[in-house]
């Protein structure tokens, strides 16, 4: 058995040492010779003596370049090269096949196997280094482009996440980004019709609040109020479509389907009422204001998408459930959650006994059938 020649370590410059070359050759003298030259050039060079071990090693820890002898027992250079080039994880690792000068058949087979370059035996130091330098430059250029592309993609997704985080829960923002794929923009397609649960929330006592002389305090209170609302909305995967004055429009089952949208809307509403109570009590003590939130929820078909002009556009929902929810919130007193019969049917089993009060029927403009209304927070 041949001994393995152990190349000496030269004074390799650290800047190159991160480029890792794997030499696969069953002749230890040839492998040692190639590794020696590469190390002299300041590269990391490792040697392996058979194709099977090399394949396992490459898959576990892909090198930056492979120098591969074609004639090896077992898995030969052609088979190993072909296997690597068919695997997405290793296809881009440059492979240099080492062939004999007069072996044209090997060159043809090497091209078919996907080899990136060839090196002829006997190996000339200058030729080896020239080929390695060229492939290294290409490899590094590709890596740089990949990292730039990756950085740009991360930046784009973070910008989208930042924009969407204002409208949807972090979970929904992640889902939107995940479904974007590469290069696309969110919701660029046509507006869609879908069943949605629309919720309007209003602040009772808002007019008196705005009359406070301390503008900073007004803004601070509104921020506190909206924080309670948005936290509860996001907690239940609601999407905020509009914020105007003290009013908030939230959609459920939109833009992504939710199996239990009405239930989530109901729970969000109860959370809003509960969590606003201590805020309201604090405002009462500090400013003497009587405040509370009223909520209207309705369910039905609506259109959602980017609606507006090229100069000003909103991602919004329009349709009957939105109009009805707007009408219900007008009717809701502080602490009341009014729902239409379609929502009530979906949440009936969740509403505690004694917490529901029918509020009669409400007629809407342009609608022949009146809508039955229920206050589902009566016991709260």
């Amino acid at each position: 058995m041949s001994e393995l020649a152990v190349p000496h370590r030269s004074g390799a410059s650290q800047e190159h040492v991160n480029f890792r070359v794997l030499v696969v050759d069953d002749d230890p003298d040839m492998a040692g010779f190639l590794a020696h030259i590469l190390k002299d050039e300041g590269l990391r060079a490792e040697t392996l003596s058979d194709g099977e071990t090399a394949l396992v090693n490459i898959l576990a820890s892909p090198p930056d370049l492979i120098l591969l002898d074609v004639m090896m027992p077992g898995l030969d250079g052609f088979e190993l090269c072909s296997t690597l080039k068919q695997d997405d994880a290793t296809a881009l690792i440059p492979v240099v096949l080492i062939t004999s000068l007069d072996d044209h058949e090997s060159r043809v087979r090497g091209i078919a196997a996907g080899a990136d370059d060839f090196l002829t035996k006997p190996v000339k130091r200058e030729e080896l280094l020239a080929r390695v330098r060229t492939l290294r430059r290409l490899h590094e250029t590709r890596r740089e482009l990949e990292s730039r592309h990756l950085a740009a993609e991360i930046q784009r997704k973070e910008a989208i996440r930042g924009a969407f985080a204002r409208y949807v829960s972090p979970r929904l923002a992640d889902r939107i980004i995940h479904e974007l794929g590469e290069g696309g923009g969110p919701f660029k397609g046509q507006a869609r019709r879908s069943e949605v649960v629309a919720m309007f929330v209003d602040l009772r006592g808002f007019t008196r609040l705005t009359e406070l002389s301390d503008v900073g305090a007004v803004v601070e209170m509104l921020n506190e109020y909206f924080s309670v609302l948005t936290d509860a909305a996001y907690q239940h995967d609601g999407t905020i479509f509009n914020m105007a004055g003290d009013s908030l429009l939230i959609g459920f089952n939109v833009p992504f389907p939710q199996q239990d949208a009405a239930v989530q809307a109901y729970r969000a509403a109860i959370d809003m009422v509960d969590q606003f109570m201590p805020v309201s009590a604090h405002w009462k003590r500090r400013f003497g204001l009587d405040t509370g939130i009223g909520i209207g929820i309705c369910k039905g078909d609506a259109i959602f998408g980017n609606i507006g002009s090229p100069h000003y556009m909103n991602f919004t929902i329009i349709g009957n459930p939105v109009n009805t929810a707007a009408r219900l919130v007008q009717m809701a007193a502080a602490g009341e959650v009014l729902v239409c019969n379609a929502v009530y049917d979906a949440i009936r089993e969740l509403v505690p006994a004694g917490a529901v009060r029918p509020r009669g029927e409400v007629s809407l403009r342009g609608k022949s059938e009146p809508v039955s209304v229920f206050n589902v927070s009566a016991g709260g």
């Binding site: 020649a5 002749d27 230890p28 035996k121 006997p122």
Partner: protein
Amino acid sequence: MPENRYTVTVAKDLEDLIPVFIRNRQKEVESLRAALNAADFEQLRLLGHRMKGVGSSYGFMHVSAIGKQIEEGARSADRSTIEGCIADYATYLRKITIVYE
């Protein structure tokens, strides 16, 4: 030292590798003899092919030249040519002088 077929000039930076290289060549002579005794011409062809590739890479042109003859001899099962090559190879390795530059 006069230049002849037994004097080989090798790059200075390869000096550390040469003792192992020479020992492997001496083992190679034994492998060649064993293959010839067994009339294993495929093994002889592979050994010749390997000598052809590795010899000149290190600067040992004569190793490559002998390897080429053995590879060709093995293809035609030319026993006497191979025998002569192995004897020549053994002599070469005994008489060789290496100069590092």
